[in-house]
């Protein structure tokens, strides 16, 4: 029990902070912060598996998050039959062509391993393939994008349940991570960081600009939900009864029936939003807890010991007969899959997919700050980092606004410096996060909850 004392203290502080937000601001805000904390926690678990277990530096988190989001659109949105009629067949032909080209290249590179002009031939095949695919797909894409561009203009999804898309999001991310891992994992640590950062940027720019796939920067709104809708709740009798029962003490103080009804409607509206968020919280909690149990078991299994051995001394581990390339690829794929799952969860929570909002600052670097602040190699730490940094990220603006008001209270309202500072309050979050990261890196490099090796 003693070894978990720090964990319990840190988590209690976090929970108290969120409850304080609920008491002082509103329960709806507190729950949306909590939901985002849980999503961030899933992302940090993914990043922590790669960095903490294996020492792989992956700056491509943004890309996998976006892929998870894309999966939600492709799985859950209803299909657009007109678009499929307009160009579906051509696009399917293109897909088959791409697969054929990849197979051809694989075949060639295996068959003619010692051939001199291999690279030249392969690049010629790729260029010819790209020209052919563009030739076939261009009219189809144009047709698809011209069908009701304000509302659809894309192929739509499969119309399947949205929870399925979480799994698919993980699979998407895993698939892409497999390819990236094959390409980039041989690189040295800092090269790997730069390469993954840039590859993630390529993924996002494809999602942003291929409108036929997911509407690009036009966004997809009104996604399905695994939870009930507020409006349905407000019209269902059982929910109104429940709210009435819950708030009966306050409602009894009203004087007239009209006032009673007004107050009740207000409560029902508030409660419906809280109820929906609670549903999401429940779902996310299930995911976070099961991931935590799984990763925790993995960390203390022989496999986890092997990963740590590889991380701490690659040469010794390979001398012991461990296949480092294979293990690195596996852990890269696993971690990315978890990040993809988080991306799908986030889009589901928002109910909309906005490719334009995927920026490396928010989706790669902030996640990394979470892992490092929380504690690399410790799953409890990574989750705590996700909670603490997200909480700061959201609450930094109000906190800094309060501090600015306090520090400049002697200045008149029209003072230029004061006005300027108050207007730039939102940007203080970068300052707080940055300084926090620098301080942690300097004085507690293992993070708030350091890695613990349990001897068994």
């Amino acid at each position: 029990m003693m070894q978990y004392k720090n964990v319990i203290v840190a988590y209690s502080i976090m929970i108290i902070l969120i409850i304080l937000v609920g008491v002082f601001q509103s329960w709806s805000i507190a729950l949306s912060i909590l939901n985002y904390c849980l999503i961030s926690a899933v992302m940090t678990i993914g990043a922590n598996i790669q960095w903490g277990y294996a020492g792989l530096i992956n700056f491509g988190i943004m890309g996998y998050t976006a892929l998870g989001g894309l999966a939600v659109v492709l799985i859950s949105v209803a299909p657009v039959p007109e678009a499929w009629d307009a160009g579906g067949i051509r696009l399917i032909i293109c897909l088959i062509l791409i697969i054929l080209i990849i197979l051809l290249i694989k075949f060639l590179s295996r068959k003619f391993r010692d051939f001199k002009n291999k690279t030249l031939i392969i690049s010629l095949i790729i260029i010819a393939g790209i020209i052919l695919i563009r030739f076939i797909s261009a009219p189809a894409i144009e047709n698809i994008e011209s069908i009701d561009p304000a509302k659809t203009g894309f192929l739509g999804g499969l119309g399947l349940p949205i929870l399925l898309s979480w799994i698919v999001g993980g699979l998407f991310a895993a698939g892409v991570a497999f390819v990236i891992g094959k390409i980039a994992l041989g690189l040295r640590a800092d090269y790997l960081a730069i390469a993954t950062l840039l590859i993630a940027e390529i993924i996002v720019s494809i999602i942003k600009h291929e409108d036929w796939l997911a509407r690009g920067v036009k966004n997809v709104i009104g996604l399905k939900r695994p939870a009930p809708y507020e409006i349905d709740l407000q019209n269902s009798q059982w929910f109104i009864n429940l709210v009435e029962k819950f708030n009966s003490s306050k409602l009894n103080f009203t004087n007239s029936a009209a006032e009673y009804q007004n107050l009740l409607t207000q409560y029902v509206i508030d409660a419906s939003s809280v109820y929906v968020k609670l549903c999401f919280t429940g779902l996310f909690l299930i995911i976070v807890i099961s991931l935590l149990i799984l990763t925790q078991r993995a960390l203390y299994s022989p496999w986890g010991r092997k990963m740590r051995a590889i991380r701490d001394n690659e040469i010794a581990a390979s001398a012991m007969g461990k296949n480092i390339v294979k293990e690195h690829l596996l852990i890269f794929v696993l971690g990315s899959a978890i990040v993809g799952l988080a991306g799908a969860m986030m889009v589901t929570n928002d109910g909309l997919f906005t490719p334009g909002s995927y920026r490396p600052m928010r989706y790669t670097f902030v996640i990394w700050v979470m892992v490092i602040v929380g504690g690399t190699g410790n799953n409890f730490g990574a989750i705590l980092g996700g909670f603490a940094v997200w909480f700061l990220w959201v609450q930094a603006a109000p906190i800094s606004l309060f501090l600015i008001e306090f520090l400049t209270s002697h200045l008149p309202e029209t003072n230029e410096l004061k006005v300027h500072l108050i207007n730039s309050a939102p940007y203080f979050r970068f300052l707080i996060i940055g300084i926090g990261l620098l301080l942690i890196m300097r004085y507690r490099p293992q993070g708030i909850l350091p890695e613990k090796i349990v001897k068994q």
Binding site: T119, D190, L197, L431, I433, G434, M441
Partner: protein, 336 residues
């Protein structure tokens, strides 16, 4: 005649912009490579450091304009550049003293330093946004064009015009001057040689009496000059927007790695490789082919290899290809 027209068209829409953009990238890439070679880490604060220097040039330009100082037909920003460089170097040295030097003395692994530079990136970005705000700013004044399209058409009687913006010429000239001075410094002076020695083999360099503090100081000074000038030239040519500078970090990294990280000559050329690839692959060649092909073969599509949306993606793809086949970069060679 058609052939000359086609050439002028290409010059105007691809070669000149690519040379300009390439020069801006090259300055940034040498900055990255220098930090990587001497201080041994990938500096993720590159874009924001460039932005930080430029910010002071912008602010000082506004100040100078309000006082009525200008630089004739040249942009006022050139007058403010030395001041901006000075503030930039001070900022870099402060950061180095309080942040980087601790890890350097402890000989932390490069990954840790890279992570620290992420922290510096956050702080720098916050400072920029707090001081100047995130909005788009133009600070170019003086003569905008050296050669206008109409004048060129009248002069030569061609159909196609050639426009030379003053910022384009300025960028290319200044880059050549700064880069040649830098290479002269690195190769011919004693301090430059000691820097290269330090970069090649730290222990041996220390053994032969090279002062590491001096090497680090000189590195930051050169880095400050490169970062600020690169940032100002980019801002003059396009416009100053903090977010764009952060994004520019990515092609700059690509240029540095393509050229072989740690190798300034490579970084210099890498900048142009990336810029030319980006612009030549996204240019629509329809008009070009209308000029050089006989009427019967005139193309009806745009003949654009990739849409301009994928500008960034091209440089990253080049990087991935280079990493796959020659992880040490195209222009492999000695470190600085």
């Amino acid at each position: 005649m058609d052939f000359v027209n086609a050439i002028v068209l290409l010059l105007n829409f691809t070669v000149l912009p690519a040379l300009t953009y390439g020069s801006q990238l090259a300055l940034g890439a040498i900055f990255v490579t220098l930090i990587y070679g001497v201080l041994r880490f990938a500096n993720f604060a590159t874009g924001d450091m460039m932005s930080f220097g430029t910010m002071f040039a912008v602010l000082l330009t506004y100040h100078f304009q309000s006082v009525g100082i200008n630089f004739g037909f040249l942009p006022t920003a050139l007058l403010t550049t030395p001041f901006a460089i000075f503030i930039m170097i001070l900022y870099m040295l402060t950061i180095d003293k309080f942040v980087f030097s601790y890890y350097r003395i402890k000989k932390s692994p490069p990954v840790q330093l890279a992570m620290v530079s992420v922290g510096v990136m956050f702080v720098t970005q916050a400072l920029i946004r707090i001081i100047i705000g995130p909005s788009d700013r133009r600070f170019l004044d003086g003569e905008k064009f050296i050669l206008k399209a109409n004048e060129f058409k009248e002069m030569t009687g061609l159909n196609e015009g050639l426009t030379v913006k003053s910022t384009q010429l300025l960028t290319i000239l200044l880059t050549i001057i700064i880069v040649s001075i830098m290479f002269w410094f690195l190769n011919k002076t004693k301090t430059g040689t000691s820097m290269r020695a330090y970069s090649d083999n730290e222990d041996l360099a220390l053994l032969s009496g090279i002062d590491p503090k001096k090497v680090v100081l000189i590195t930051w000074i050169i880095a400050g000059i490169l970062a600020t000038v690169g940032g100002i030239l980019y801002g003059l040519d396009k416009s100053y927007r903090p977010f764009v500078y952060f994004n520019n970090m990515l092609p700059i990294f690509a240029a540095a790695i393509v050229g072989g990280i740690g190798n300034p000559y490579g970084a210099f050329l890498g900048g142009y490789v990336i810029a030319f690839a980006e612009i030549f692959l996204t240019y629509a060649y329809k008009k070009f082919f209308t000029y050089i092909l006989p009427d019967a073969f005139e193309p009806d599509s745009l003949i654009q290899l990739l849409s301009t949306d994928y500008k960034f993606a091209i440089s990253f793809s080049i990087l991935v290809i280079v990493l796959l086949f020659r992880p040490s970069g195209i222009f492999e060679g000695k470190k600085i």
